[in-house]
């Protein structure tokens, strides 16, 4: 009897599908990126003048896969499209960003139609798996040095792998539409 049933159990066991990975949710993934981006101002200077940014930078960089790309607009140090690659590159960007800004308040924009406000997360599934998502946002921040506060509209395009890690993010900031906020 056992010789008859055992192969059947083995067959059924092999046919059991592996537990499915939870579906990637663009809202949660993108939201987490904004939370950790805004936390890049949550660090202190030691009494000896050391800027302790490592903890917040590491937490931000944890969202990225090992071969991720982080792509931003030109800045005073470089002309053209600036690409940061891999953990070290992304930590470099995050450290510079953390040391340059305070009172970060980047937020995903709301759109209202028929008196119904919502934040729109545009998402699609790439053919290689994972998830792609995009949002419009408002970058609100204060320059650490001159303490001037600005609001700049922007957009961010994310590609996540199957585990939800960022493979690529491209950030566009409309600097021509920057507005200084009176304090």
């Amino acid at each position: 009897m056992i010789h008859t049933i055992a192969p059947l159990f083995l067959f059924l066991f092999l046919q059991t599908p592996a537990p499915a990975q939870p579906a990637l949710q663009p809202e949660l993934l993108v939201d987490q990126w904004f939370i950790r981006l805004n936390a890049l101002d949550d660090w202190y200077i030691t009494v000896n003048g050391k800027e302790e940014t490592d903890a917040v930078v590491d937490k931000f960089a944890d969202l990225y896969s090992k071969d991720a790309f982080h792509e931003v607009q030109p800045n005073e140090n470089q002309l053209g499209h600036v690409i940061f690659h891999g953990p070290e590159g992304i930590k470099k960007w995050a450290t510079d960003f953390a040391k340059k800004h305070v009172h970060l308040a980047y937020r995903i924009d709301f759109m209202t139609r028929d008196e119904k406000p919502t934040q729109l997360f545009y998402s699609t599934k790439p053919p290689w798996g994972g998830l792609a998502a995009a949002v419009e946002f408002s970058a609100v921040y204060t320059n650490r040095e001159d303490r001037k506060r600005f609001m700049i509209p922007g957009s961010a395009f994310f590609v996540f792998d199957q585990s939800g890690k960022i493979q690529r993010v491209r950030i566009y900031m409309l600097n021509d539409e920057a507005e200084e906020i009176e304090q």
């Binding site: 202190y44 200077i45 030691t46 003048g49 305070v102 650490r144 040095e145 001159d146 303490r147």
Partner: protein, 138 residues
């Protein structure tokens, strides 16, 4: 005698501040801040008691402490902190000069303004921790 001693202390404070600046060596910031509080309280006490030489000495010490404060913030180029520190030095200098001139009203005015400069910088750059210690915000 008291005047001479006050002048000597002012000179020593000034030399110490210049020496620290020249050497580029800053004391730990908490040491500086922990000296500001008692010195500021002494200044008030001496002004109230019309002990002007001692008040001038306190104000001169505050000036050198705020120079150290400025030195701490200089590498970070943090405008508001630097402005607060420079303003505090100027006010301490005013208080010191007014005390040397026995001008209680002017010294008291500078003392009050100094308190506002302290508060402004603390509001922007000091954060209280649950254990009642403080951390320095960028």
């Amino acid at each position: 005698m008291n005047s001479n001693r006050a002048l000597a202390m002012i000179a020593i404070s000034a030399v110490a501040a210049v020496a620290l600046s020249a050497l580029g060596q800053n004391r730990p910031y908490d040491q500086v801040m922990k000296e500001v509080g008692p010195t500021y309280a002494n200044l008030k006490k001496n002004l109230d008691a019309s002990a002007f030489p001692a008040a001038a000495q306190d104000a001169a010490k505050l000036e050198s402490l705020f120079k150290e404060t400025e030195n701490f913030w200089t590498p970070f180029k943090t405008k508001d902190a630097l402005d607060f520190a420079k303003n505090a030095q100027a006010l301490a200098q005013t208080a010191s000069a007014a005390a040397r001139d026995n001008n209680a009203q002017k010294a008291q005015g500078a003392y009050n303004a100094l308190g506002k400069a302290c508060k402004g910088c603390h509001d922007s750059h000091r954060e209280a921790m649950p254990d009642k210690s403080f951390k320095i915000k960028p």
